[in-house]
Symmetry: C2
Subunit: 259 residues, 2 copies
């Protein structure tokens, strides 16, 4: 009998978030699951790692079926590093991150702890997928995502992923019967228009909360934003080679070495 694939599960909302529990439930159907996830919410920590502080790892038993479940005091990326190099001491067959409580489509990918964990696994050469649901509610309904997650994970286990590529999967907030299918997309061009909510603390000192509005600047029907708005699950293949190859020739024309 073929050995079950070893699957590392992580997230950025913290190990007790309903989203990761839903993801664990699906992964238990297809492989041997190891969970290593932050012990507290780590949304929007991007690709942050802990180099100026210590890391604590605790064995936990949130899911009685899983032999190896650990919380980590660091970021999502720390959790992946700890899992691979300290806990497993080997590379799992798959790393899945999420299910994030909230969208990681378009430009959100760059702020996302969920996606950064998946990207870190991809950098290690591990096939990796980040899953996010466009619903920020802690009690969001993750049931409609499960069939799709299983299908996508099985395809990745079967086919592998191109070198240097990670999948960013986003779900619309819909019932399963309302979801039209899966679309492979590009990242939509979008921005956050920030606003700072200024307040005064009891000591009379001003402080700020970061807030803002998401603005989609891209009507392309091949984008993740279009897919999500039209009832599809979006998959964007993401890479960590950030080189803007198309700009190299233009910069070479600048004659920067003339004196």
């Amino acid at each position: 009998m073929k050995k079950k694939p070893l699957i590392l599960v992580t997230n950025d909302d913290g190990i007790s978030a309903p989203g990761i529990r839903a993801l664990i439930a699906v992964m238990k159907q297809i492989g041997e699951v190891v969970v290593v996830a932050p012990d507290s919410p780590q949304s929007a920590t991007g690709h942050s790692i802990t180099i100026n502080n210590t890391l604590f790892i605790n064995k936990v038993t949130m899911d009685g079926d899983i032999e190896q479940e650990y919380s980590c005091s660091g970021t999502p990326v720390d959790s992946v590093k700890v899992a691979v190099h300290e806990i497993l001491k080997c590379k799992p067959d798959l790393c899945v991150s999420g299910i994030n409580h909230g969208s990681n489509s378009s430009i959100n990918v760059i702020y996302s702890g969920t996606m950064s964990a998946a990207v870190e696994a991809g950098m290690e050469g591990i096939p990796a997928i980040g899953f996010s649901l466009s619903d920020y509610d802690w009690n969001a309904d993750f049931e409609p995502t499960k069939t799709f997650i299983k299908k996508i994970a099985l395809e990745v286990l079967k086919n592998g992923l191109p070198e240097g590529v990670i999948l960013n999967v986003n779900f619309p907030k819909l019932k399963e019967s309302e979801i039209k299918g899966i679309k492979i997309c590009r990242q939509a061009k979008a921005v956050w228009e920030e606003r700072f909510d200024k307040r005064t603390n009891p000591q009379g000192k001003d402080y700020y909360w970061l807030t803002g509005e998401f603005i989609n600047k891209d009507n392309g029907e091949d984008t993740d934003e279009w897919a999500l708005a039209h009832g599809y699950v979006s998959i964007v293949p993401v890479q960590f080679d950030l080189t803007a190859y198309h700009a190299i020739q233009q910069l070479n024309n600048w004659k920067l070495n003339n004196t």
Copy 2:
């Protein structure tokens, strides 16, 4: 007389780091400088932003010549957002980040607070450059970088940058006379091979320090690692559209919508 360009200076080593003071000194020669930088070291914070905590902004006077200098309690990316949307309430003509104490070449770009600040400015449509010196010493000699920084900044102010492109500039640890010139490069394929340094605290609990070794897996002569090792200043054009376009067709062959 043409108005002097408005230049936003930030970094990730904190507002008092020698690296940012060197960068400010160069920028004062070419424009009106506004400084908004983290009040404490924020290395390796990547594209982290502060959404679960408050932000404090303090006007400081570290450089008597500069009217607008502020420290921010958040990350490098927070500092850029605060600068543009709360302090300036307009977009500067240029944003420069650094000079980082340590290399941000190859895969380091993805962990780097210095580069994430520049990328955030780029996302706002501001021409942006991150500068880093391959020397982690707090008392590193930044003098050899200054002529190059001035030249690169003036070229960006003159030509602008292609849409969605930010420059990642790295300097070798050499005397100015030893530097052979500037090379436009691609990001070398490299990884960090992590190791966790396990220790025990006075209460008997295990904790870890993240450590590791940088492994360059790419001998290409068009890479930033090659340029730096051969005495050149490297410039990699960096983008924040993370879509792996080359993988889209392959994923479309997966028939994910078959039932």
